[in-house]
Symmetry: C2
Subunit: 215 residues, 2 copies
């Protein structure tokens, strides 16, 4: 019974996701769905990415948050269009809310939309939002066992950013164990080791995401 209900929700989500994907392809807009635990650094990643890319590309942001517009306010300084979706307790975004959010953008005037999903390593991974791809973000402070313990996101994502590598010396994060688990789950995943706040490794990420936008 419960499984059936879940299936209906997922089916309805999928149909709308396919519509969203078709629309964005026709408008040549890349949409990236960023998923992580709370506090892995999604907003800081977006701040640094906007800073690096905003002079070359037209960027839009969809901010998924349970409540508050704190993340959106951190991004206002880039003077780009930002839509906040407050889920009011909901643990993920779905394609219907994304479809509505897209109505507020001028899609003919955008190259890329970054979705900052609700901070949750589990539920958002099950929902296709019509994105070009999912980007996983995980911080070294969360420990090296996250891919093994929460495999779905890491299996679904095209790329992963390992953030806060500057904290490795102060923690018991085992880089080799993390990488081995990750490769076992998703051998083809593209990986960036960075510190969003200190700047380490960020240029590689900027280059790669720029290429994806230009494609």
């Amino acid at each position: 019974m419960e499984i059936k209900i879940m299936k209906n929700i997922l089916n309805r989500n999928q149909n709308k996701a396919d519509e969203v994907r078709d629309l964005l392809e026709s408008k040549k807009v890349l949409m990236v769905n960023i998923i992580s635990s709370p506090g892995s650094g999604k907003t800081t990643l977006l701040e640094k990415t906007c800073e690096a890319l905003v002079s070359n590309y037209k960027i839009g942001i969809i901010e998924g948050d349970i409540t508050t517009d704190r993340d959106a306010r951190r991004l206002q300084k880039y003077e780009i269009p930002i839509i906040v979706i407050n889920t009011e307790g909901g643990c993920h975004l779905d394609s219907h809310s994304i479809s509505k959010a897209l109505e507020s953008f001028d899609l003919d005037n955008l190259d890329v939309i970054f979705i900052e999903n609700v901070g949750n390593l589990i539920c958002p991974s099950s929902f296709d939002l019509g994105e070009a791809f999912k980007l996983a973000l995980v911080s070294t402070a969360e420990g090296d066992d996250k891919p093994a313990k929460y495999p779905l996101l890491f299996r679904e994502a095209k790329a992963i950013i390992l953030n806060k590598i500057d904290l490795i010396p102060y923690s018991n994060f085992n880089y080799q164990s993390f990488t081995n688990d990750l490769r076992r789950i998703n051998g083809g995943i593209i990986k960036f080791d960075v510190s969003c706040t200190k700047g380490n490794g960020m240029n590689k990420w900027f280059e790669w995401i720029s290429e994806q936008i230009k494609k």
Copy 2:
């Protein structure tokens, strides 16, 4: 329609939670429901707590995990009863799975049961498992804005452990802002500032939880 379904699930959960709570009260077993993001340090907290308390109290553990028994294996060394609940993708524990897990314990021979919920700052907060109280855990590496952005858990919890205080010098965590938000959401919450790995502040936690068990 969806709201109605959610209500039914929550009602069924609540009835069973009340049963569980009655059972545990009659057996004088304290059950603590530990909730946090992935990687905040739930398992490390349990390791240190078992180490400190296992000679004085009879401890049982329920490990909620999406997949794997990694956390349970880390706790095996204390030779205490541990039940693993693999949710197979599910984002929270519910009172029905807890009720079943309790059948495997000898409740006459236990003082306290710690539940390590699935790593998720959102969904588990909505589910009463029949616990005596919820314990929130949050790491400084997640940033100071967690109470404001994910208020439900912090409103529901009796106590909060702020973990990884040893990382504050290497991050932009604003302690005052964290504390102000927390007090605004839940003025009566009991707070412990600790580093589970380094040991700072742990004695206060051990004393307090011992008192709760003895009550």
